[in-house]
Symmetry: C2
Subunit: 256 residues, 2 copies
Amino acid sequence: MGRIIAVSNQKGGVGKTTTTVNLGASLAAAEQRVLIVDFDPQGNASSGLGIDKSLQDNTVYELILGQTTIQRVALATELPTLRVIPADPRLAGAEVELVDLGEREYRLAKALAPAVEDYDYILMDTPPSLGLLTVNALVAAQSVLVPIQCEYYALEGLSQLLNTIHLVQQRLNPDLRLEGVLLTMFDQRLRLSRQVAEEAKEYFGDKVYKTVIPRNVTLGESPSFGRPVILHDAQSRGAVAYLELASEVLSHDQAR
Amino acid sequence: MGRIIAVSNQKGGVGKTTTTVNLGASLAAAEQRVLIVDFDPQGNASSGLGIDKSLQDNTVYELILGQTTIQRVALATELPTLRVIPADPRLAGAEVELVDLGEREYRLAKALAPAVEDYDYILMDTPPSLGLLTVNALVAAQSVLVPIQCEYYALEGLSQLLNTIHLVQQRLNPDLRLEGVLLTMFDQRLRLSRQVAEEAKEYFGDKVYKTVIPRNVTLGESPSFGRPVILHDAQSRGAVAYLELASEVLSHDQAR
Ligand SMILES: Nc1ncnc2c1ncn2[C@@H]1O[C@H](COP(=O)(O)OP(=O)(O)OP(=O)(O)O)[C@@H](O)[C@H]1O
Ligand SMILES: Nc1ncnc2c1ncn2[C@@H]1O[C@H](COP(=O)(O)OP(=O)(O)OP(=O)(O)O)[C@@H](O)[C@H]1O
Ligand SMILES: [Mg+2]
Ligand SMILES: [Mg+2]
């Protein structure tokens, strides 16, 4: 029974894509059947998994417009149980085109419904905004994983994000809940990092994952090789952290 | 004769706000009359300059809807020749509300027109997207300053940004040009940083500023004190880099 998780935070550059790709890959390494949905027109999750976007006739854009099926658009990756639905800049057009269509907030939810039985985890990467694309992901999701960079500006936008989640719960998806808050790019040596981490823990309590992702250059390098970090350098601190996060997510699920 | 510059890149977290605040402050330290316009609903530039957003009746939202004037909404800062027009989450509503209004792409340009004579530089911070808010800033601007983080994903989105700039030039603002490309968060020790910097220089040639902004924790700390870095720690590498950038921008302008 697939768990559907949106990875979302409208603050830019906080590690949404890095978390989607590397948590997805780590869950697949633990033999979970995982589908990553790239729902950001930048298409970073697609290229981070080695997909050449210029070669794809079908992307998530065609999927939400009903022009293709999941089977045709979900691409294999180097990990046997990991598939990815790619995105490219055409998706930016959907933000405008969907406005006039019926059930515009439910397009992604409807498109993914046939896949729920085939996967253990469906992870959706979202753009740094609270527009119609992110709302579609929040409607399709059962829960939201919120990466928070250990920087000052990262705390500022949280109330806006929580407001949006609350609005989606009230009007569009009453079952939506907070999966967890993930501290990213944590640098033990910096007082700023420790301060922001402390404040996030005070604000979110036990919703903050015990796993903290350190700032680690291999997480920045692995996308340039088109591979998740566990395939690029499995011994690195970045890879170890995301494997730990995967086992924390799995232990939460087994406990439910 | 105010120079109107939009600071823009739809990739998130690349240093748009940090550049707007600190280049603006450094130009003001060189006795230029500077207006910073926060055009991102996150309102990071406002809080980075010590503005308490919850206390403001008037923000840039009211300005573009014609409900207030520049004089009432441009707030003083600790630097005598620096003012800021604040933003808050209400601005996110404008993205939807503007769609049905006439001349929706020209709202910011029209609102700022009365200020052009009073300032030497008008810098606009933009959100990490290519929607109507960013388009408004590109229409109001004479040029675009593009911060690029020295990371792999940062290069991916450039062609989308250049496409958008080209579309704005063709249809809405023929005079728009590229002010320059600024390399940010550069870490000399990392091969990744050096590689991305090399590629950006190949791609953009002499449009890349000679000044490169290093990764420096004071740039992350100063917003938590509500002050630009030159007032928080003027000796820091971050402050020195933005002062250098300001003199490079000024020397370009004097040469014209
Ligand atoms: N823990 C980390 N250590 C070092 N670098 C990281 C880490 N996490 C992410 N990065 C790098 O930081 C940059 C921002 O991360 P990423 O692109 O995943 O954020 P995002 O939230 O998806 O950004 P956007 O808002 O543009 O979608 C990327 O270049 C990425 O490679
Ligand atoms: N040169 C630097 N060295 C260290 N930290 C930096 C540097 N430049 C920016 N930062 C920090 O990195 C984070 C991202 O920078 P910033 O918020 O300015 O980017 P942005 O492009 O405006 O993000 P968004 O896309 O969300 O608007 C911030 O927490 C900022 O304090
Ligand atoms: Mg991303
Ligand atoms: Mg910003």
